[in-house]
Amino acid sequence: MSELQETARKLLSEGTVSVVIGYEEGPRGVRPAFITAPAQADKLIFDTRCVQNLATYLNPRRKQVAQLGRAAVVVKGCDARAVAGMIREKQIERGNVVILAMRCGGVLQNPETNSELTTQTVSVRCGGCTVREPKLFDHLLGELPPEPPVNTHRVEQIAALMKMSSSERWTFWTEQLSRCIRCHACREACPMCFCVKCTAEKSQPQWIDSSSTPQANRAWQTMRVLHQAGRCVDCLECERACPEHIPLGLLARYVADSVERRFEYTASDDPTVPAPIGVYRTDDDEEFIR
């Protein structure tokens, strides 16, 4: 029995938690698992296919999960940022979740494949990872694997976009967003999209038309990515959920880079570190607000 399975079994049998949210083998690769009995703890696995950010399931409005009771959640260092974000923004209490953090050597882009980690197959977000040894945890588990290879695909895409003229970029995004069908799958899969009522669903006034039109699609994706500034943890669940395969991670990464440049802040895995949106500083020169 692995360290993870043993810890989960103990937490469940001692009654510390009622459910362990982790990963298990599914019919199409790895899938999220909800283990409620100690005897089932041996289903839990952790390997390079564990792409999903399970912090999403801690959202208290996921009633079907919340009704199971107090949870332990398996996270990678990157996912721990989402748990920290939810604690920081008062969605969950630190003392009310048990964090099982896995030492991680990178994950694949696709939880269904079982290939070697290469510069082509590894997730674009694993390059330069600083949290392979997670810092936010109750139990730190597993051996530290070697550093993952670096997939430069997204960095190159962003560089290419930044080289474009603004009208070329406009054309690029108009084409990409023309495919948006306004299903809002990106929002539902996002661990940091937890508003009780999304702006896109407000109808008095109707800030954003619900139809998929060029104007409304632009407004929706711009609004979403701006609301994620300094909050997005770059887990790319939005991109995985998008049935139209829009590269939403590019938008999010661009905004995250801007926040880093302006505020020297990247989504932190320390819930006590405030995000720029949540602080007021008198020495903020606000030089970009005209």
């Binding site: 019919p27 199409r28 909800f34 999903q52 299903c183 959920a241």
Partner: protein, 354 residues
């Protein structure tokens, strides 16, 4: 049913002639963003098409029920409101290389669109379209068409079914529309071709059949009687409620209707895809939601496809394409869920009198 033979060249000439005659032609095409994937798209020349490579990422429904479409334009005048409805007559189009599961999906939605109200926009497009499907040979472990009454060789909804034989295709002319399309094309078939096609059809069926046993007829009734079964509580734990399944589904057809202003006194009425998997779908104006958790919303998806629709129309509202499983970011897998529920329905005989 009559049959014809088409060489590869003969099929190309047919498509080329249609394009020359300005007929809209839709075919599977390699996706721009991912060359390993295929999408149904309008084509300009036959070389663009990639037949029989893999299942297209999205179904055919967007060509008949677009994700968003204008129903009417309105304008406020001094005396009232002027309404201008959109035309319900569509330009002729031919779909080449459809998979039987996608075409079966259209046939299933036909019944809903002609149920309590005849949807002229839907049928305008349906009637203007001729569908040439291909024997499916791109199934994977997630396909289960044979379990839901369809199959890789099914002709439901198709006007022509093409089956690969030596040197080209054997065409089953399913409808008079199909016969009309191929009237001046094709060659006579011989018995050897018929035998080859029959063997290919059986082989294709054998490839997908083991994925999921046929869903028993009693399943619909069991679902209806077990609306409050505890299994629903835990079945959808990993479901995000994102509705990606419904977007890619060939049979999900729900829509929302909205009026949107385009200026002070003018606007449009649109209908947009909607999905029972989202909370907003059933949220009342009061704020109350009778399907308050994803467990209930996922139950609705299963109940509608495997019980409610069958009780009205006598067949399952699922064609076994498996796209919902492939699209799901949460690892929900419809064939697994259905197999689990079917097993449950057969686990213990119900006590008589209940």
């Amino acid at each position: 049913m009559t049959h014809k033979f088409f060489s590869h060249q003969g099929l190309s000439s047919l498509v080329a002639d249609l394009l020359t005659a300005q007929t809209r032609v839709i075919a599977p095409v390699c996706a721009k963003d991912d060359p390993a994937q295929v999408d149904y798209q309008l084509i300009q020349n036959v070389e663009e098409a990639s037949f029989g490579v893999r299942l297209p990422r999205r179904s055919l429904k967007e060509f008949f029920l677009p994700p968003s479409e204008v129903l009417l334009h309105y304008k406020q005048t001094k005396t009232g409101v002027e309404i201008r409805e959109v035309p319900t007559v569509a330009p002729p189009q031919v779909i080449f290389g459809a998979t039987p599961c996608d075409v079966a999906g259209l046939a299933a939605v036909d019944k809903v669109m002609n149920w309590d109200y005849r949807d002229e926009l839907w049928f305008g497009r349906r009637e203007a379209t001729t569908i040439v499907s291909f024997l499916c040979n791109v199934m994977d472990s997630t396909c289960f068409c044979t379990a839901v009454g369809s199959g890789p060789e099914a002709t439901t909804g198709s006007d022509v079914l093409l089956v690969p034989v030596d040197g080209g295709y054997l065409a089953h002319l399913v409808t008079s529309k199909g016969e009309a399309l191929l009237q001046s094309y094709g060659l006579p078939v011989n018995e050897a071709m018929m035998a080859t096609a029959q063997a290919a059809q059986s082989a294709a069926r054998d490839k997908v059949t083991p994925n999921l046993p046929a869903i028993p007829a009693e399943f619909a009734g069991w679902l209806a009687r077990n609306f409050d079964h505890p299994v629903w509580k835990t079945l959808a734990l990993r479901c995000h409620g994102c509705g990606a399944c419904a977007s890619v589904c060939p049979t999900c057809h729900c829509f929302d209707i909205v009026d949107e202003h385009e200026s002070v006194d003018e606007g449009v009425r649109r209908r947009n895809w909607d999905s029972c998997q989202t909370a907003l779908f059933t949220t009342h104006a009061s704020g109350h939601n009778p399907r308050g958790s994803q467990s209930e919303r996922f139950r609705q998806r299963i109940q509608h496809k495997f019980s409610i629709y069958p009780s009205r129309f006598g067949e399952i509202l699922c064609t076994g394409c498996g796209r919902c499983s492939r699209a799901c970011p949460g690892g929900m897998d419809l064939p697994t869920v259905v197999a689990e529920l079917v097993a449950l329905s057969q686990a213990k005989p119900e006590v008589s009198g209940q």
